[in-house]
């Protein structure tokens, strides 16, 4: 029995709510007649279309490129015709430029063949990752090739695969670890080769014992002299899957404030991103599909769906038999860090990990009251910040004074808002403070 690792400071234990979908095998959703592909899928510059209106495209064909700055190319998720260049609904940005493709339902799905990659060098592998449009699909959307080319003054010695999946409800990574464990391990080897290192830890929260054993089997099957890959069970505590907390849990190293994991010699990739990196290198398949957990009491049939990037929420709802009468809130992402959306006219992006249809009894709509200074948010904050002070200063009209309480170190995990007995929307206060304090 391995000891369960965890981060020491803060954290909370929200109800897991994973029982709705954890046992459901990933199912491929039929391709809808139209897809809306948002040009800015990742952190960095949005893509510029490389196709013209009414052009016919093949599945996997390049349709957008980043001309300048940080980013990755964009590919057609289906064979079809470019219909329009317009805007689409976006969970965080309200609306964003997009390409609409009309699907050619007659075209057969493209198949990909395995290719050996052992003769490729790190540079060639990295180019494949970039060209396939791989970004961190766990939610952050950071271009993967950038993570895989750390600055030369920060020698990397450890790769961590993030299989914690600590957000309630979401089981997309869980299913990937069960169904694509061999591909994830091979993807890990590709990453290790690109980084020129040998050590990889796969961190998985202990509430997924089947994923832990599946990954252990896959690691044993792929054992080699060359690499040391180890599955590391983690304590169930939110936010175990946060990059800094995961690195501390697994290696004991603390990433300095505002710094990247490379500062402590670590690179972290989500397990699903690792599977996508496998596909990019072994199959030459670009990233244009996504496993998304659709859950909550507000959807007729919860599921883990493999959908094309650009599939609209309304298509997903139709496919799953509609919403229930007591649907109260739709959240893109997890219930702790996700964003509530007010429309189904929003397409799935590469970073969409879940869409939650929450019923009345799954959300807390009680109004917030004044801060009673219980200090629970200070105990819960994994970063050692002072959420209550930020909120009080924002309420008092002094958001510009909140830098001292660490607003810019906050990654908005929501632990403070979860524990707050006065039900204060502390994350929203902090977001407001970040906007005002930055200027």
């Amino acid at each position: 029995m391995t000891t369960l690792l965890t981060f020491p400071k803060g954290g909370v234990h929200p109800p897991a709510a994973k029982e709705y979908t954890a046992h459901l095998a990933t199912e491929a959703m039929p391709v809808p007649d139209e897809l809306e592909i948002i040009l800015g899928q990742h952190i960095g510059a949005p893509c510029t279309p490389t196709v013209s209106k009414r052009a016919e495209v093949e599945e996997g064909e390049l349709i957008g490129e980043v001309k300048k700055g940080l980013g990755v190319p964009l590919h057609a998720p289906v064979a079809g015709t470019i219909k329009t260049f317009g805007t689409s609904g976006h969970p965080m940005r309200v609306s964003a430029p997009s390409i609409t493709i009309r699907t050619d339902q007659a075209a057969p799905a493209r198949t990909y063949e395995k290719k050996a990659w052992s003769q490729l060098d790190a540079k060639e592998l990295l180019a494949k990752v970039h060209n396939a449009g791989i970004i961190g699909i766990g939610g952050a959307g950071f271009p993967s090739h950038v993570k895989l080319s750390p600055p030369p003054d920060n020698p990397i010695d450890t790769l961590i695969l993030n299989g914690a999946e600590c957000e309630p409800y979401i089981t997309a990574d869980h299913r990937q670890m069960l169904e694509r464990s061999a591909e994830i391990v091979e993807g890990a080897k590709i990453i290790l080769k690109i980084l020129g290192i040998t050590t990889c830890h796969i961190g998985i929260e202990n509430n997924k014992p089947d994923a832990i054993s599946a990954m252990n089997v896959a690691v044993a099957n792929a054992a080699s002299e060359e690499f040391t890959i180890k599955v590391q069970p983690l304590q169930v505590k939110y936010p175990q899957g946060s990059e800094k907390q995961l690195i501390q849990a697994v290696t004991g190293r603390k990433v300095p404030a505002f710094a990247l994991p490379s500062a402590v010699g670590v690179v972290v990739h989500n397990v699903s991103t690792t599977a996508a990196i496998h596909d990019a290198v072994v199959l030459d398949k670009p990233l244009y599909e996504k496993v998304v957990t659709i859950s909550g009491k507000g959807i007729s049939r919860p599921a883990n769906l493999r959908v094309k990037v650009g599939t609209k929420l309304s298509d997903i709802v139709d496919y799953l038999g509609g919403v229930t009468d007591d649907l109260a809130k739709i959240v893109m992402g997890g219930p702790m860090m996700g964003f509530a959306v007010s429309s189904l006219d929003i397409p799935v992006t590469k970073t969409t990990s879940s869409v939650l249809f929450l019923a009345e009894d799954e959300i807390d709509t009680s109004p917030h009251s004044q801060c009673i200074r219980c200090g629970w948010c200070l105990e819960a904050c994994p970063m050692g910040l002072e959420p209550k002070e930020v909120a009080i200063h924002v309420e008092a009209g002094r958001p510009q004074d909140t830098k001292q309480f660490g607003v810019f170190e906050c990654f908005e995990c929501g632990c403070c808002a979860f524990v707050c007995p006065a039900k204060r929307p502390l994350v929203q206060f902090i977001r407001l403070a970040k906007m005002k304090a930055a200027g």
């Binding site: 800094k244 300095p256 710094a259 009251s369």
Partner: protein, 331 residues
């Protein structure tokens, strides 16, 4: 996603923890204690509702915080005072002490103690003499003192006697020291409701600790400091004071678990809480031994209340990690 805890749940749990000592003291001092408590609670709730209405704020009496203030106020005044006193105390505690300072969350001072301090200053005689003699619960004194002339049965509290006449007088009036511990712990002694049963107040405090509504830092550091300093300075010669008697008497337990731990007026950082508790303990002993009053918990807490935010500005939570020197961190 939110946890199931709420301000209402916390407040009403505290109220529930204060009910057993109230029931016991009703049996010990008679139904007068129950009436005084009811008057105090009703006044606090009414003053809160009126204050919020007049100030155009949302009326939040259902959160239970005014009920706690009312109960605590009744617990720290002699049970035999005229009914007007808890009403005036409620105005001081809730209107001036709480809502004029910004409402819940912004009251620098513990409202109940502010009410008591105000009453002690304005009605010094009633507040130091309207005690009822304690009767063992077996004698069912429930209705004994109702309607009788309260001043006629007034008597000194053990701490007042100790201060004025020394330990020998305490032993003469209340019995041998060994029996005192038991009587004080169970509550068979004159005093305010909150001074009666150490046992039941301790149990209530332990329940709040168990529910994690309070942490151990303030009660432990406060009581340990009272015990230690009383042991050193409280006797005729150094190191001969009685720490146990000091902790069991004068509402030290009520103060430690139910008043010094008040969220709003106490610090949030654990280190600040330890220092805050020590400060209250030290001031309590100083007032008891050298001050003009036999009892010091109330003023000790009120004196430390405004220092809470100062302590919290000195002791900040430990950040996850400092920035690199290139990003503004320490070199």
């Amino acid at each position: 996603m939110r946890s199931s805890e709420s301000v209402e749940k916390i407040m009403w749990s505290v109220v529930a923890c204060l009910v057993p000592p109230l029931i016991l003291s009703t049996f010990i001092f008679g139904i007068q204690t129950l009436i005084i408590t009811a008057v105090s609670v009703a006044s606090c709730v009414a003053v809160e509702a009126i204050s919020q209405k007049v100030m155009g704020r949302q009326v939040t009496v259902r959160d239970g915080s005014a009920v706690i203030t009312g109960m605590l106020l009744a617990f720290v005044i002699p049970p035999g005072v005229p009914y007007l006193l808890p009403v005036l105390g409620a105005v001081m505690a809730i209107y001036i002490g709480k809502h004029l300072l910004g409402g819940i969350g912004y009251n620098i001072f513990n409202p109940a103690l502010l009410g008591r301090a105000f009453l002690l200053a304005t009605f010094p005689v009633a507040m130091t003499s309207a005690w009822l003699p304690a009767t063992p619960p077996s004698e069912m004194a429930l209705f004994k003192y109702l309607g009788t002339d309260i001043d006629a049965v007034s008597t000194a509290t053990p701490l007042a006697l100790l201060k004025e006449q020394g330990m020998t007088a305490v032993n003469e009036t209340f019995g041998a020291t060994a029996n005192l511990y038991t009587d004080f712990f169970l509550g068979i002694r004159p005093g305010s409701i909150g001074e009666t049963s150490g046992l039941l107040i301790l149990l209530g405090g332990l329940y709040l600790l168990y529910r994690r509504y309070i942490s151990w830092h303030i009660p432990v550091s406060m009581l340990a400091t009272i015990g230690l300093l009383t042991w050193i300075f409280g006797g005729v010669t150094p190191f001969s004071g009685d720490p146990l008697l000091a902790i069991l008497s004068g509402g030290a337990l009520l103060g430690a678990f139910f008043m010094a731990t008040d969220y709003v007026s106490s610090p949030t950082n654990k280190k600040s809480q330890l220092i805050y508790g020590m400060g209250i303990g030290a001031l309590t002993v100083l007032i008891r031994l050298k001050g003009g009053y036999p009892e010091g918990v109330c003023y000790a807490i009120l004196l430390m209340n405004p220092i809470s935010s100062v302590l919290d500005s000195w002791f900040k939570p430990k950040r996850f990690a400092a920035p690199l020197p290139s990003q503004g961190g320490a070199k």
